[in-house]
Subunit: 142 residues, 2 copies
């Protein structure tokens, strides 16, 4: 958490970016928020402490966070961009409930390894991946 702030500060100064009130606030809210927030959710939360803020600033700043490596964009099937905190460099994937929209994360090393094998078989170099399982979570199955 604190280390994320330092990471961003480092990135910012390396890029000659300025430190502004808005960026601080957006960073605080982003770090304190549950995972997978949509831009709109973050925007509304940020607005509470900083009423005059514009959508554009939030969009621009989240994009910066992604460049700085402290946030990762995720795209689910609902046409909204979400951001999650990067957790120390490894992938995790998502179980997405299509009924209540809850999201559970998981990791599976075997799947990762299989992906690499498949890629290798095709001469493909993986930069990134996305695995999402859509369905009903335990409480929505009834």
């Amino acid at each position: 958490m604190l280390e994320k702030k330092r990471l961003f500060e480092h990135f910012a100064s390396a890029q000659g970016l300025r430190s502004t009130r808005q960026r601080d606030i957006i960073l605080d809210v982003f770090l304190s928020t549950h995972q997978h927030s949509s831009v709109e959710e973050l925007y509304l939360k940020i607005k509470q402490s900083n009423p005059g803020i514009g959508h554009a600033t939030v969009y621009r700043t989240l994009k910066l966070f992604a460049e700085a490596g402290i946030a990762r964009e995720i795209h689910l099937h609902d046409g909204q961009t979400r951001y999650e905190q990067t957790t120390a460099g490894e992938h995790h994937d998502h179980l997405v409930c299509t009924s209540c929209n809850s999201i559970v994360e998981f990791e599976n090393a075997t799947i990762e390894k299989l992906q690499e094998e498949i890629a290798a078989r095709h001469g493909f170099l993986i930069k990134n991946h996305k695995l999402e399982l859509y369905g009903l979570c335990i409480s929505c199955r009834k």
Copy 2:
């Protein structure tokens, strides 16, 4: 291919849908087109044989195909909806080249099984899944 047409006809009559020139054309083009076409690509192709066609009709009709079970929507990271033909009921996943946008399909039964295991562990019922590996294809790696 022919059986897809029958499938759609069956669906259409069951739903009380009408058979129209546009739907026939869109179906023909869709079935004859390489996989993973974006709506715009399909629209442009359809326009050749049917100049006056509107975007809306293409969008509406592709959605119908998806409901009828002969097409499947896919969403890559570029903000466009694509459609692919459903191939006899099973999943396949995608290797997406971020440089030339080529798409290679693959299937892996072991990954599928692992997904089920993970879901079971969370009491989750999978309806659908999405696995995409982004990176550089063999020719773009140089």
